[in-house]
Symmetry: C2
Subunit: 204 residues, 2 copies
């Protein structure tokens, strides 16, 4: 049992805000091991454990990867019809914050890429990644869940020596928060829950 | 903050064994709300919250769904070249246990189907489902992560009135365990972690 992950489950889950403003302070290898040990405990299809964790710590590699992330982020925005900062709605705090992350990710102390050894087993990567992010919260390390865009994938594979048949499913920048952990804004569970049939009303 | 989810994170993660043998005792609506409240706190793409939770409690509906689950489980095995119980390796405990679940799921006290409102947002359903399963562990409720097979999907949609454009991504049977919670068997984190480049060795 990892004595370090002592935070009550509810506290970690209820304060797992997306942390996109990261201090440059490094994350220790001991902490990284704790995060991935926790990730490894998550459920996965038939215990085949197809998830692999590519940890980026080297400053030069993160800088090069950060340029690809920035390009990918804007490629996703162009798919939405937004071509530059002036198109991002000023009142969309999540998007404004994500835009800043696309600029700043090159300075993140740590990035973990969630990869799958086999196509069709993506659903066996995300529960481990959620464990990793919750464990980070327990250690006071912030993170946010992001994905890349197909336009940069081949170059990401080339930069990091990832074989062509391995999928890179998500990109988790991590670091100590410049801001604070805190509550998330979500719909009430009654709005996303159905009982017994689609749109069947829950009793709360 | 949900006072009920007080178990230390590490304890919950490290004892989240797949629980496939379930007692018939019902799970209260208060507990179900606690599970889905926790699920709702998980990260998701752009806070779009596409995950929906279809809770099955009605005995007749679970019985009918259970028949489809059983068919789906065997359809997956046939895809693997296994046509009946005699083909399932006796020493594959996970598969033997999963085969029994396919018979017994019709008696599960609770099933939650994880659904996505939008194609391409599957990765925003699995972190909530992992929160739900960890929260269940905190309450002493067992669960296991399963998926269905395309061959039954149309009938699942028909049975539960799910619109055609909604994806049903996973099926989580839940109940108090007949066995015990306990440790999972997983590869060491050093075997699934790379540093800076694919197959780069971690320092532990």
């Amino acid at each position: 049992m990892p004595n370090r992950l002592t935070m009550p489950m509810g506290e970690a889950m209820y304060t797992q805000r997306a942390i996109r403003r990261l201090k440059p302070d490094p994350i220790s290898d001991e902490d990284i091991k704790t995060l991935i040990d926790a990730a490894q405990k998550a459920p996965n299809g038939g215990n085949q454990q197809p998830a692999r964790f590519l940890v980026l710590k080297d400053r030069e590699i993160i800088k090069k990867f950060g340029a690809l992330y920035h390009e990918a982020w804007w490629a996703k925005r162009k798919d939405q019809g937004w071509n530059g900062p002036e198109d991002i709605p000023k009142d969309n705090k999540t998007m404004q914050s994500a835009m800043r992350l696309a600029d700043e990710i090159k300075d993140a102390p740590l990035i973990v890429l969630g990869c799958s050894l086999r196509p069709g087993m993506e659903n066996s990567v995300f529960p481990p990644i959620q464990n990793l992010m919750l464990a980070a919260r327990c250690l006071g390390i912030g993170s946010t869940f992001t994905t890349l865009h197909p336009t940069v994938m081949e170059r990401v594979h080339d930069l990091l020596g990832i074989p062509k048949d391995i999928s890179v499913l998500c990109c988790i920048p991590l670091g100590y928060p410049r801001g604070n952990f805190g509550p998330t804004v979500r719909k009430a569970s009654s709005e996303v829950t159905y009982y017994d049939r689609w749109e069947g009303t829950p009793p709360w």
